[in-house]
């Protein structure tokens, strides 16, 4: 009984070969694209620790091609030996970082609060303001998305000047909240639409008012959507440059504006530019890696009906 009775047909081997080639092709393309996505980030991080000759020779791999130095972080006053000393650059940098954080968080909080209540109302009740019905009101909110920032920028410049809101954080926060509001409403409308109304009806029977039901029953269920829209607004407002460049000068300047003003003077201090860019993107990379699930959920909302 040693002779093999059943043999694989030749076409089956063909399948195997084709399967292997397709695997190689798939992983090849995926890895290539991963390199395209990650290399600029890797380049920025390593350049932070490069001296001028390392940059010019195109050294890539730390400890193999070149020895990492604290040049980039030292120029920001953040390297181990300078961190306890006085540093004007660091103070400036920390000020910009605080501005960016305050404006991004403040605007996202406002947008999520206003947007989720509005989205809840739109998903539950039918309104009628003159000729405007629910679908028109939704369109009114969502259509803000196509408004290009230039249209608002110059009127706001003049308005803020006469309101003494130019170069203040609160002015920037209000404007940012406006730009992210449509996105929040878009995501939250989707989220509330998937929550059955029986939950509120049960809450009414238990004696809760409509706002009571909203805060105690619905919001906790809709939390994933709120987190998703909060993070998306955070990303958009943290990165915003256009309004910040026009409406701020000394006090409320954010990190991207600081970065852009350094780009203009293109000196040889690559490491300091790299350190600044790295600092500007680091919080978002961390958020992206840790909260990727929510970001994808937020962006996929409305894509699938």
């Amino acid at each position: 009984m040693s002779a093999q009775i059943f043999h694989d047909h030749e076409t089956d081997f063909g399948h195997k070969a084709r399967w292997i080639t397709s695997r190689v092709a798939i992983y090849g393309i995926l890895i290539l694209w991963a390199i395209i996505c990650l290399f600029p980030i890797y380049w920025t991080i390593t350049t932070t620790f490069k001296a001028a000759p390392d940059v010019m020779q195109g050294n890539m791999i730390p400890w193999v091609d070149f020895t990492p130095k604290w040049l980039g972080l030292r120029s920001l006053g953040l390297s181990p030996e300078t961190i306890f000393n006085e540093s004007t650059v660091r103070d400036e940098f920390m000020k910009r970082l605080t501005n960016s954080t305050v404006t991004a968080v403040g605007a996202s909080v406002i947008a999520v609060m206003l947007g989720s209540t509005a989205a809840y109302g739109l998903s539950r009740f039918s309104y009628r303001f003159g000729p405007m019905k629910n679908s028109d009101i939704s369109f009114f909110f969502l259509s803000q998305l196509i408004l290009p920032p230039v249209v608002l920028a110059l009127p706001f410049l003049v308005l803020y000047k006469s309101l003494a809101l130019l170069d203040t954080r609160i002015g920037l926060i209000l404007l940012y909240a406006l730009t992210t509001l449509p996105i929040v409403i878009w995501i939250m409308r989707d989220q509330f639409g998937s929550i059955p109304t029986e939950l509120e009806e049960a809450a009414f029977v238990d004696g809760l008012s409509i706002w009571g039901a909203y805060f105690t029953i619905i919001l906790p269920i809709a939390l994933p959507g709120m987190v998703a829209s909060f993070i998306l607004s955070l990303v958009l407002t943290w990165n915003e440059y256009f309004f910040a460049a026009l409406l701020t000068s000394t006090n409320a300047k954010t990190l991207p504006v600081m970065l852009a003003s350094q780009t203009g003077s293109q000196g040889i201090s690559w490491w300091s530019m790299a350190a600044l860019s790295f600092a500007a993107i680091l919080p978002l990379i961390v958020i992206g890696i840790l909260l990727e699930r929510y970001i994808i959920k937020g962006m996929a909302a409305g894509a699938v009906k």
Binding site: I146, P149, F242, I296, A303
Partner: protein
Amino acid sequence: MEPEGDRLHVVTTENISDARRNFGNILVYGSAAIMFLVAGLQSLDSNNILDIGFVTWRPTLYAALVWMVCLSAGQVIVRGEQGKRTLFILPAALFVGAMVVFPLIFALGIAFSDWNLSSPNGRQFNGFDNVRQMWNDPFYWNSLTNMVWYTLAIFVEYIIAFGIAVLLNAEIRARKFFRVSFLLPLMLSPVAVSWMIGKSMLEVRFGPIARLARELGWDSPSFFGSPEIARASIMMMDAWTFIPFMMIMILAGLQAIPTELREAARVDGAGPWRAFWEVTFPLMLPVSITAVLIRIIFKLKLADIIINVTSGGPGGATDSVTSFIFREYRDRSNVGYGTLLAIFYLVLIVIAMTILMKLADRWMRPRY
């Protein structure tokens, strides 16, 4: 279709006394009167008819805020349960109204006046002079043509995004790693990207991409020298940051397709190529159109990278409308003319998006 009537029915007995109703009405109309009074006094003051000594327009702002709060409270006081429902969308509507509608009307006023912030004359109404100037401004029309090119690039981005999404949806290992790393470019600030890629990696002497180009046989790589190559470089940088966005939307669409459909196609003898074109792609059409439309909206705002990498050069070849108006303001403080250009751009966008959405509506309707 929006269903008629409320999804959530609430039956309530309303007994709102006349006194309560009157109080609510007085609150709303009274605060409105105060707002108009303050605004009127301030405009008289700013036209030097009265001399009260206002420094800024803050008092009007505060009066308007008070009116908004009173209006919201008045809803509940006058209309009871119905008012509580209105309260859900009223704050957002007031916010958007104050921040968009009012500035837009204001912008129309600015657009038809000669107003240079650096000149001492202040604002002067000049009728259609700005329109005539726009008509004869070759750089503005050039930036509009550039926007058409930038928008057309979306189709290439779409094909790449679709391809990657299909691969991510296949049976692969380390899917989470790939997904996170493909997502990361979207998280980065365009200004940082301008430096990371535009100024350092594309740097002609030491940039790694320039090195790679030399290795591949391009003797003297220059990414922002000639108009066409400069435009292509900007397109690539913008694509790099935004492909993840379309990829995620398409991936979500792909994951929503039931596997039975693809299995049924296989049982019916369709090869992978035919199954893709006759099952997957038609099913993905609605998602694709949504993704492309949103991407177009974002593309029309393109400015940060251009401002920071090329500032429109060489010779305006990479200018987008937004970056052009940005420089018009930065270099010449020309608020009036800049606003007219922006308003005209908005009108063009609204017309184009309306046509596109009508067409999309027709394409998305299922044909079976």
